[in-house]
Symmetry: C2
Amino acid sequence: MPKPEITKEMPKAELVERIKKGDIRAIARAISLTENNDPFSHDLHAALLPLTGKALVVGITGSPGSGKSTLVDQLAVALKKTGKKPAIVAIDPTSPFSGGAILGDRIRMMHTAEHAEIFIRSIASRGATGGLSRFTFDTVRVLDAAGFDVILVETVGVGQVEVDIVRAVDTCVVVLVPGMGDTVQTFKAGIIEIADVFVINKADRDGADLVLKDLRLLMSVGEVSDAKFKNPIVKTIATTGEGTQELIAAIDLHQKWLRSSDEFQVRKNNIARGTILALLSDLVHEKLFKECPDLLNQEIQKCADRKETPYQAALTLLKAVGV
Amino acid sequence: MPKPEITKEMPKAELVERIKKGDIRAIARAISLTENNDPFSHDLHAALLPLTGKALVVGITGSPGSGKSTLVDQLAVALKKTGKKPAIVAIDPTSPFSGGAILGDRIRMMHTAEHAEIFIRSIASRGATGGLSRFTFDTVRVLDAAGFDVILVETVGVGQVEVDIVRAVDTCVVVLVPGMGDTVQTFKAGIIEIADVFVINKADRDGADLVLKDLRLLMSVGEVSDAKFKNPIVKTIATTGEGTQELIAAIDLHQKWLRSSDEFQVRKNNIARGTILALLSDLVHEKLFKECPDLLNQEIQKCADRKETPYQAALTLLKAVGV
């Protein structure tokens, strides 16, 4: 007997039950309700909450061209072979201009039969600064509840939102490559210090040892050297899969350390704080758009015409929404 | 007779008067009050507002290592030679971990005597997502009021906050370089479509023509090709100053087009909207930190312990601040 259609009218309990069983269509439905900010999705997430907390969430971040998508694929396949149930959440940079992923959704080669059973969800990075992070972790929550036990969150690694996202994972992997510009420059861009594990991908290329040397030098100075965990550095060649096992071992090593340290609770609280504050902003904005669209437009006009400062406009709108 | 000290007690009118005259210490004082979110700064900005609107704000964005700092310096010197009064606002990537600019404040070579009179303000990119953009444009407002007529805002070009900032300028210059990875990849990262003017820096390097070819190809497809303004592409060698005049001409060309089109008002309104919404978030968060710190901590704990969703926590806090 075919399963009944998943409809919006389906009782929450049934949808939750299906997600719990790992039903892909139910998972997709839950993510889609979340994406559309459907009021029902809030109840759904509250109902999914007790099912979560089992997945390991690994962030993988690196510049465009660093081969991180290939690496993530390899990692997922390797994890699957060890009996794990991995899922991939890939945050695709999108154009702020055209509103869509510029070159279409990710084009990912599915080399092997195993890939067919790895859940991949692509998220366009366009949208509210807070919204991207919120939706990413709502998606992670659904996948966690559905029994995926390793969730790989892939982002392009520069910028505050990406930093916020990779900070909110259990283990953050930063992918560097030889010849993509100076390691020191990447370091300056701020992403490296949030790394738990470093990967030097395309390690067969000239300059891989230089990246390794630079990394070791940078890790020997300042705050990084004071850290309690010595970040592993793993060399990989994602196109062949070389180094993937070592990467899995390095992630395990970090998790063992994290769960035995105070850092674990600090990290969980920081994540909760960031998420709650971003959501609070979203809710205030939503109320404003819904209840005072005309006043908002008037204030925008006054600011654009330099008749008042943005601060004065924000104060007026704050009163209007009741704060 | 020496001028009296600039103190916090100095009447607003006098500080405004000094800023209007371009007094560097008064400008620095105003920026510092703004940075510290001093309540006085809000009144000050309201008083500065009628003095603003004369400056051309040019955003210059590019990857670390693209040579954009050197280019910005050359641009400032060249503008000064034509009788302009340029200022530089440089947003420095900072570590989200150590809280400071990793390698210290920018190290910028001051080659010529002219540099001495170019105002450079460095802004650490650390801090609230909204806060960076807000502080950048508050700084721009002070400089505009002070009579600087070209304000060069320099950012590392990937990430939502950077995108928000370079969107809020009059002309956005995107700097590419040969050999720093695939142009298509940079394009995917979303920054290119917000460019008004392209620069290919280090144009004497191998691959400069390839970047040019790629750019022309990318501009011939999709939404970009529908744009009303054909983005100029300028080749520069920032270390020698080659191409700087051409860049100034390209910026002029864009401004002439912008001011003759509907786009001018649309852009001003979009900027005002973004700024107001970010400020509104900041104000709600500030109220929460001040009035309900204990409730916030309780809600963070509940979320971290998976006893409620971030959405449930945000709703509770929203009520607590009065929305």
